[in-house]
């Protein structure tokens, strides 16, 4: 298994963000991490990225603690920012310095596919920045992509572009775990949907299993999380 979380708990003061969460994900799936606000999605992604430690339980990526395999995990933070004056060329310089697996050619292809203009970040709109950062994240060649709300705060057309980019990027040896509220728009691309509520996984079902239940992801979302 590529990703394993066993009985993971993480609190912030009195607030229990993740509460005894267990989840196992194989390679080669696009997984939707779904839940209402405060369900623990971002914390789960940060635990997998190695930015947070679990208070209890174990987090494993490729059988190891995430910090030991940081080079094989790409993380797109929810409110990602970069140096404001960076343009595509500058970002290539930065990301090739930070990440040996960064693919400049793929980055440029993704920028084109996502219709990101050739200008600095400071001159871009919110949606354009989001696409720029997504392109930079997807241009890495890793086993695990953690995308925190990549569809948040963007218009419908942009959402379609992002989803198309994700589909075009899919590889058999990699897992894409993305948190989102935009269930209806994104459900066509999920191989699996993981529903979180109050820091726990309440349902993890493949698209096939949901179909057998006669439910769309959106319907399951309403039923499980209501």
């Amino acid at each position: 298994m590529l990703v394993e979380l066993q009985e993971v708990t993480r609190r912030f003061g009195a607030n229990v963000a993740v509460d005894g969460l267990s989840l196992v994900l194989p390679a080669g799936e696009v997984v939707g991490l779904l839940g209402t606000n405060g369900a623990g999605k971002s914390t789960t992604l940060k635990l997998l990225a190695g930015l947070l430690y679990p208070e209890a339980g174990e987090v494993r990526v490729e059988g190891k603690p995430p910090r030991r395999v940081r080079g094989r995990i790409a993380f797109l933070p929810e409110r990602g920012q970069l140096y404001e004056w960076l343009d595509a060329k500058g970002a290539v310089g930065l990301f090739t310095t930070l990440y040996p697996d960064f693919r400049p050619r793929r980055f440029y292809e993704l920028l084109e596919q996502l219709e990101v203009p050739q200008r600095s970040l400071s001159q871009m709109s919110k949606g354009q920045r989001a696409r720029f950062l997504l392109a930079a994240t997807l241009a890495r060649k890793v086993r695990l992509y953690l995308l925190d709300e990549p569809l948040g705060g963007v218009d419908l057309i942009t959402r379609d572009r992002i989803l198309a980019a994700l589909v075009s990027e899919w590889r058999e040896d990699a897992t894409y775990l993305l948190s989102t509220h935009e269930v209806a728009e994104a459900e066509g691309i999920f191989d699996r949907a993981v529903f979180m509520k109050e820091g726990r996984v309440v349902l993890s079902a493949s698209a096939e299993e949901l179909r057998e239940r006669g439910q769309s992801v959106a319907q399951a979302f309403r039923e499980v999380l209501a």
Binding site: L51, Y53, R70, G71, A74, F75, G80, Q81, L82, G93
Partner: protein, 258 residues
């Protein structure tokens, strides 16, 4: 663009501010040297140096604040990278060190120029030694401490209680600095010493101080009191810097980033 270039560009306003400060100060002194009394200008240069030199403290403060402000921004991308924390810390430290290295070199060079115009003679290595002392004994450890402080604040986000502890710790840092200075001078006397530099002040200064008989030779005057200049503070400063950078790199890699 590498990390060093990015950090340099990020802090360009601070660097430009320091450069402007130097330009204004240099121009003021140049006017004194060319249109006034060079010896009097040297006195002004030395006294104003006490006011202008501490501006270098702004660099570690700004670098530390930048770290705290970035935790939810660019830092997320930097932190998630597999490159060692030392690479990131080194880039930030390198920028601060380069900026302050040039700043203090310009200060020393300006005073050197005014002193030469005023007729003060001294060994050619003296300006370089003063600069090295400033950089190794003061600037480098302060910068490294600023990075550790910034990383601690960004990683652990102390509340009001933690901030009170931090302020108290700042006083502790001053005490620690003083203790280290005494330790270097009293216990590390076996480390190499620099010879007493030759410094000869013009006759006018001697007359002003009531010493007759030509230029005032400070080396001859000081030789009965001290035999050399200890280099121990430089070594202690470098050791403390390396230790603090190691702590900063460890914090970078091991701390949590919510």
């Amino acid at each position: 663009m590498n990390l060093f270039t990015l950090e340099l560009r990020k802090h360009r306003l601070l660097i430009a501010g320091l450069a402007l400060l130097l330009l204004v100060w240099g121009a003021w002194l140049a006017r004194g040297v060319t249109g006034g009394d060079p010896l009097l200008t040297l006195g002004l240069a030395l006294s104003s140096l006490l006011a202008i030199a501490p501006f270098g403290v702004l660099v570690p403060i700004v670098l530390a604040r930048a770290l705290a402000g970035e935790a939810a921004g660019p830092l997320a991308f930097l932190l998630a990278s597999p490159r060692s924390g030392l690479a990131h810390v080194a880039a930030r430290f390198g920028v601060g060190f380069a900026a302050l290295g040039v700043y203090y070199a310009a200060l020393v060079a300006t005073v050197h120029w005014v002193a030469a115009a005023a007729g003060v003679r001294y060994d050619a290595w003296l300006p370089l030694a003063v600069w090295a002392y400033t950089i190794a004994g003061w600037t480098a450890p302060l910068l490294a401490l600023g990075l550790v402080y910034g990383l601690l604040v960004s990683a652990y986000r102390p509340g009001r209680g933690g901030q009170i502890v931090a302020v108290a710790a700042s006083a502790g840092v001053l005490a620690g600095w003083s203790w280290l200075g005494r330790f270097a001078l009293e216990r590390l006397g076996f480390l190499p010493q620099l010879p007493l530099p030759l410094v000869v002040l013009p006759e006018k200064v001697g007359r002003f101080l009531g010493v007759a008989g030509g230029p005032l030779d400070l080396k001859t005057a000081l030789e009965p009191l001290v035999q050399g200049v200890p280099t121990a503070p430089i070594w202690v400063g470098l050791f403390v810097t390396l230790a603090l950078l190691a702590v900063a790199a460890r914090l970078w890699e091991e701390a949590e980033w919510a």
